[in-house]
């Protein structure tokens, strides 16, 4: 068949927010996934509860590309508000599926696309009497139609429906009925060749379909977080929702039925992070999740955490700023705010997960890092990663792994410090360097990281006051400039230690590199990775082979700096207007500004491979 596209196309659903389309559309994604074919959905939704247009875009990719791709091969249009725009966006040769209960207006007369009318409203009205059901099942009717058109196995759909309504069995039958309304309508009324097809493959292995926010929540569960304090904000809300769900399942004391966790919905983001710091100061593992506006409010506590050296885990699910911006659209625009949060000389380790399994790993790692480094650690995800499902490597946990609680002195260790030097029989030689007296801010190991104590540890030893004001090595308040400088220099030393502890970048050197010393490098992080990887393949098809570096953390370590140093031309891909990552590179490495070329996407939608490809190709 001419122009047949097997497992390689984009479907977009144009719906009205609040009409139950989300779960129906997710059913479609899951069905493609169960057919063993890589699939990536993007929920493009409004900051609204009910009534505004919302889109759900699904890319099916045999080659496994999971970034967003421009161009819609099939549009399911069930929203009269956006129908004109939706109609115009269908690629030539594509399909336009609409509710034909009422005829299309005469101007919908493109000859370069095919129109498929399905009387969704009429079919549902004839079958169902309840108004809500009539509304909800229209969505299921078009899923049924797509199943038949694409050739997705009906048994896959039937199984998904029965799984989805497990425990609510009486909903299975009407859903299957609605599904079949769509299936039968196509079978009876559509006889033309159809060029888009989903064919069963085995391309996914043991991969999972999961959202970044849920994965972060699970990471916090596995890392032993007992306290979550938060303030609701899109797109981070579902992190704590998921934590709450998992905690209710895995954190109940079997004997008493009581909770081995506490979740507090705080009065604002200031209080949320304050509670996290209070809890971590007191020896529990705690976290908060927020987005841009919340991060702005958390600045003062982040400064306190840096200076007073209080561990804190913050998950920043970035959205489109500035100010309220576009709360339901994605961006990578909190980089500078997060990296240097708060007044004075401050900087904070950042982690950049790109996939749900990395969200899981890096959230768990953030707890180890924050306690090891005694400084706030921020996990930088974004709306795209957080709220959309992604095909991901499975989550892994090694049972032999144990939490790194960092340098926390036990009562016995405190005792040993106060014994005479010769008598010290403790595991860390560092404790000898206390010379008989504990000092909270003494750098006895030379790595800039001091030893902390938790309230209640020892009757007479180890107590000190944590403060955001200057103090000496023994935690005594001081305005002595020399003591202040010593402390700031030690914090700088700690920053050097952090460079060695954060995950290194993933570097790929193209095979061409030996031949051409001028091979440019491409630098990206987080959700830009999906599109960047695809764009590199597109360039390779044109015979252009580039080196690449996927950055996974800030501060930048040795490998990062070498990569920047070695390349004469670098493309920095990021999703904000002001090239914030490029600024970070300039500030931290002193690289020549002219050699860093920005590829910037900032319209609130996830960056595409086509865009990166064109940007790089035109500026090589």
């Amino acid at each position: 068949m001419n122009g047949l596209k097997i497992n390689d196309f984009v479907v977009r659903f144009a719906n009205v927010n609040g009409t139950g389309s989300a779960s129906a559309n997710a059913l479609f994604t899951k069905a493609v996934f169960r057919m063993g074919v890589p699939v990536t959905p993007k929920n493009i939704f409004p900051s609204n509860i009910q009534g505004l247009p919302t889109w759900y875009e699904v890319r099916v990719s045999e080659k496994g590309y999971l970034g967003r791709r421009a161009g819609v091969d099939l549009m399911v249009s069930v929203n009269p508000q956006s129908i004109r725009k939706d109609y115009a966006e269908v690629k030539p040769g594509g399909y336009f599926i609409y509710d034909s209960t009422k005829p299309l207006a005469p101007e919908f007369n493109r000859s370069d696309i095919k129109h498929i009318g399905i009387p969704m409203t009429a079919l549902c009205n004839a079958e169902f009497s309840d108004a809500r059901q009539r509304q909800l099942f229209k969505n299921i009717v078009y899923i049924g139609a797509l199943t038949t058109l694409f050739g997705i196995e009906m048994s896959v759909l039937e199984r998904l429906v029965s799984e989805q309504f497990k425990g609510k069995e009486k909903l299975i039958e009407p859903n299957l009925k609605a599904l079949n309304l769509g299936v039968n309508f196509i079978k009876e009324n559509f006889n033309e060749p159809f060029t888009l097809r989903v064919e069963r493959r085995d391309l996914l292995g043991d991969k999972i379909l999961f959202s970044g926010n849920s994965a972060c929540a699970l990471g916090a569960i596995y890392a032993g977080a007992t306290i979550a304090a938060w303030y609701p904000i899109t797109p981070s809300t579902s992190v704590v929702d998921a934590f709450s769900k998992y905690a209710a399942r895995y954190r109940i004391d079997p004997e008493t039925g009581k909770n081995r966790y506490a979740i507090v919905q705080a009065e604002d983001e200031l209080a949320a992070i304050g509670m996290v710091m209070g809890a971590m100061w007191n020896g529990a593992r705690a976290f908060t999740a927020t987005s841009g506006p919340g991060l702005s409010l958390m600045q003062e506590f982040l400064g306190l955490g840096y200076f007073a050296e209080v561990p804190t885990v913050l998950i920043d699910v970035q959205r489109t700023g500035p100010s309220t911006g576009m709360p339901t659209r994605t961006q990578q625009s909190d980089l500078l705010l997060a990296a240097y949060a708060s007044h004075g000389d401050t900087k904070h380790p950042l982690l950049f997960p790109a996939t749900p399994n990395e969200c899981f790993d890096m959230t768990a790692l953030a707890f180890d890092l924050t306690e090891r480094l005694q400084t706030p650690v921020i996990v930088m995800t974004d709306l795209d990663l957080g709220m959309n499902d992604h095909v991901s490597e499975p989550l892994k946990w090694d049972d032999s792994r144990s939490f790194d609680r960092g340098k926390v002195l036990s009562a016995a260790q405190l005792e040993s410090i106060y014994k005479s030097n010769n008598d010290v029989s403790v595991e860390s030689n560092g404790l000898r360097n206390f010379h008989g007296k504990y000092g909270r801010y003494l750098d006895v190991d030379g790595d800039g990281i001091p030893y902390r104590t938790i309230a209640g540890t020892h009757v007479t030893k180890g107590a000190f006051t944590t403060r955001g004001s200057s103090r000496d090595e023994y935690a005594i308040y001081t305005e002595d400039g020399e003591a202040y400088r010593r402390n700031m220099d030690r914090l700088a030393r700690k920053w050097e230690t952090a460079k060695k502890l954060v995950p290194p970048p993933e570097i790929h050197i193209s095979s061409d590199a030996d031949k051409d010393p001028n091979t440019p490098g491409v630098v990206f992080f987080g959700t830009s990775t999906y599109a960047a990887v695809e764009a590199l393949d597109m360039l390779a098809e044109d015979g252009i082979f580039l080196d690449s570096m996927r950055v996974r953390a800030f501060p930048f370590g040795k490998e990062f700096c070498e990569f920047i140093e070695r390349h004469k031309k670098l493309f920095i891909i990021e999703q904000n207007r002001d090239a914030q990552f490029r600024s970070l590179v300039l500030i931290e490495t002193g690289a020549e500004p002219d050699k860093l070329i920005s590829v910037l996407n900032y319209d609130g939608t996830p960056i595409t491979a086509d865009f990166i490809y064109e940007q790089i190709k035109s500026r090589l």
Partner: protein
């Protein structure tokens, strides 16, 4: 301020039941102004902890920013302290309390720290009934920035320059009762006799205990015309009841004896013994407490003493149904579901 504290202590200093003399409960030297009300309150805290036989390492001291918030350095040097950021002590205390329910949390704040920048956190800590002492050293002015009026300064009260405050005062005690605080008391830094038993009771209360203590600022707000000066407060103090603290009563009963004596039994079995002075006031009745406060205000009096108490309300841990064991002491085995569970979760995501 006192620059020198003699190292010598009288060998016959009395010891408490734990064998500690009172100096064990002291902090570092105060850097507050000589005669500052806050130092008297600190001395009362030291006295209360010593008399209560508190283990200092079982206390965590928390504060925000301001003269008052420096105070935790001046008592209980064997306790951990957290001098946080301006107006944010309640959230830090809430988190700390969630992490370890077994410590006593002693929060110190001021009128700026509480009634202005920290009002949001103050009211929400009350709503949550976080088990803590929240002591406001209330002098009606900003000391560290040289005497500006605070939100608790009475309308018409004059500052050092003779200017009248234009705005109505925020009544922290009344507000706290309104919000459902479970222990509300007012006192005066110059009345140690009242303050010490009040602090003891607050420390043993099973919930949020507000101590709003008028503590004159000798440098910026002790002038004629100020309603927070030593003279004014002494002249205008009225008291709900004389207060005694009775440690660990064997019998848990509320007894009314002749002469209006009432024992309020606290969570651990100790009791507050009240000799009631105010008419129509019942410490268990929010309505009567609010009424008594407002009546005193109308009469230009400062009502001190215990105002309201509710020992039965659940604290935050009870509300959240957390385990009895402190959350910060749970082991990895108790917290991490492990590999088998992660594989099940993976399977559910395919």
């Amino acid at each position: 301020m006192t620059y020198i504290r003699p190292g010598f202590r009288h060998p016959a200093l009395p010891k408490n039941a734990l064998g500690y003399t009172i100096d064990y409960y002291e902090g570092s030297l105060s850097t507050l102004c000589a005669g500052c009300g806050h130092d008297s309150i600190n001395a009362a805290i030291v006295q209360a902890c010593w008399e209560l036989n508190i283990e200092p390492h079982k206390v965590a001291k928390l504060s925000g920013i301001g003269c008052s918030s420096k105070s935790p350095a001046y008592f209980l040097s064997n306790s951990h302290g957290f001098n946080s950021v301006h107006g944010r002590m309640p959230s830090v205390a809430t988190g700390a309390n969630l992490a370890n329910r077994e410590l006593i949390y002693f929060g110190v704040s001021g009128d700026g720290d509480t009634a202005s920048i920290g009002m949001g956190q103050f009211v929400h800590a009350i709503r949550r009934n976080v088990r803590m002492v929240y002591l406001v050293m209330n002098n009606g002015c900003y000391g560290l920035t040289k005497g500006q009026d605070s939100a608790t300064a009475d309308a018409g009260s004059k500052n050092k320059a003779g200017q009248e405050n234009l705005f109505e005062a925020i009544d922290l005690a009344g507000l706290a009762i309104e919000l459902g605080a479970t222990f509300v008391a007012q006192s005066f830094s110059g009345d140690k006799q009242q303050l010490v038993p009040m602090i003891k009771a607050a420390m043993l209360h099973n919930g949020f205990a507000l101590l709003n203590v008028i503590s004159p600022c000798v440098t910026f707000n002790n002038n004629p015309g100020s309603t927070k000066s030593y003279d004014y407060v002494r002249e205008h103090m009225e008291t709900t009841a004389l207060l005694d603290f009775v440690p660990l009563m064997r019998e848990i009963t509320t007894t009314y004896e002749s002469g209006n004596i009432e024992d309020l039994v606290l969570h651990d079995g100790s009791a507050i013994r009240l000799r009631k002075l105010a008419k129509d006031w019942d410490p268990f009745d929010r309505f009567s407490s609010v009424k008594a406060l407002q009546k005193a205000r109308e009469n230009g009096e400062i009502l001190t003493g215990l105002l309201y108490i509710n020992e039965k309300a659940p604290d935050l841990h009870s509300l959240l149904n957390t385990v009895d064991k402190p959350l910060n002491s749970l082991t990895e085995a108790e917290l991490c579901p492990g590999r088998e569970v992660i594989e099940k979760i993976n399977a559910s995501l395919r």
